[in-house]
Assembly symmetry: C2
Homo-oligomer: 238 residues x 2
DNA sequence: TGTCAACTGTCAGTGGCTGACATTAGCCTC
DNA sequence: GAGGCTAATGTCAGCCACTGACAGTTGACA
């Protein structure tokens, strides 16, 4: 039925982190490790193929063949072709949410969001590299920004994250998302700036982590001036 | 190749408005009128079926059969299953962009955006009803908000609109989008508020046009306070 | 070592979407 | 107003993402 349209329901395999399971019910048995290896291999091969030949031009069969599993197995690990693209992003976003919860309560909402993004960028490299080379992640990011079908998925994920973050912010500030528009509006403004920064970065030449950091920082710092400032009596723009 | 993923390239039939062609090369001949009728019938039947049985649960074959054309013909009018959903939205957004260009140059950017949205809502009813009943449009809106696959498409379209609007704003203010982040950031904050308002409306009970107007108005008015205001010394929230 | 359960492969089928080619039906000219 | 031109449509065959069902394989664990 749903065939082409992205799914919300995903396979019950809900491992979001990339680290070793170590904690939960399934300890690090052979089976568990094998599964993890298959999953990582699928991610790596998929992203390698996508970034090399393009997303639309790569079929699931090719990915499965590269890892030497059946097409059916691919779909047991990922609910859709899109999902494998964002597997690493999910780790990154989880880090960001954690970081946000750790911010001191007296910080202003937007400042807390800003700090959380910046801090999470600091140590995310290691987490990413446990699954794929950081450079492949950066190339993936750029591929997403230049593939309309993936941008759509990107936004859907963003908005789910937005909702989650809005609730976090509301709790921090002691207000209710149901009656007070400000948490959602603030988060919308914030994630809008992040999205735009990602887009501008994706269009530029410099593919480095430093570059996206800088651009993100600049765009975030412009939210206040852009919304509340007086544009003609310029605040200085760059 | 691209099969399931949404297409950017669309059929060369690029009639975005719903009115009679009257102006261009093809005058209102029988052929032209027939095409317009087929297109409108496809939109109407599709939205009727989607809102009644759900988007995923409705097949293109069913839509085509309802209008008594072949499946292939459907795809000659719309590049994808998604596109037919947003056919009416495209008219609405075109109205908004027009309205924005008509705002006086001395208005602050966010105020111009706000006024343009509100004004375009005023007279859009007639335009919509030339194609489908207004009530069907409202139900469609709600269906979009509750269908993840469509939300993704919704955002892709939003962001294309965002880019266009950001350029308009930049021109109004006499700045350059390439070097000054503020137009894009302001528009991102603005459309974030719009999106959130749409979402909140979609989750509520009141399906009326007045309801979405009110919610939109309230959320837009909160952008300033949410971003620049002091949340603890409350500004009053509702 | 044998049983159980998880993981995987195979197969058949659905639905979105496309290219190629044949057919129909407005339109325009003589 | 018959005939040619061409846009619009139908038919058909096929690709690819994705799914359910069933059978085979392989770790886990008594």
């Amino acid at each position: 039925m749903t065939s082409s349209t992205p799914q919300v329901t995903r396979p019950e395999t809900a491992w979001s982190g990339g680290g070793e399971p170590s904690g939960g019910t399934g300890t690090g048995g052979l089976r568990e490790r094998k599964k993890q290896r298959t999953r990582d291999a699928l991610i790596r091969s998929a992203l390698e193929l996508f970034t090399a030949h393009g997303y639309d031009e790569t079929t699931i069969d090719e990915i499965a063949e590269a890892v030497d599993v059946s097409q059916r197995t691919f779909f047991r690990y990922f609910a859709s072709k899109e999902e494998v693209v964002f597997a690493v992003h999910e780790m990154v976003e989880a880090r960001f949410a954690e970081e946000l919860e750790r911010r001191p309560a007296d910080e202003a909402p937007l400042e807390a969001l800003r700090s959380a993004v910046m801090t999470s960028w600091d140590d995310i490299g290691g987490v990413i590299q446990s699954v794929i080379p950081l450079e492949l992640h950066m190339r993936t990011y750029q591929m997403i920004e230049s593939t309309p079908a993936l941008m759509a998925a990107h936004w859907r994920r963003y908005s789910e994250l937005e909702e989650q973050i809005a609730r976090l912010v509301a709790r921090r500030e002691g207000v209710d998302v149901a009656t007070d528009p400000r948490p959602r509006v603030a988060v919308a403004a914030f994630s809008g700036a992040i999205r735009v920064a990602g887009k501008v970065w994706g269009e530029g030449e410099d593919v480095s982590v430093e570059s996206i950091r800088e651009i993100t920082e600049e765009y975030l710092s412009q939210i206040g001036p852009a919304v509340c400032g007086d544009w003609r009596g310029r605040t200085e723009s760059r």
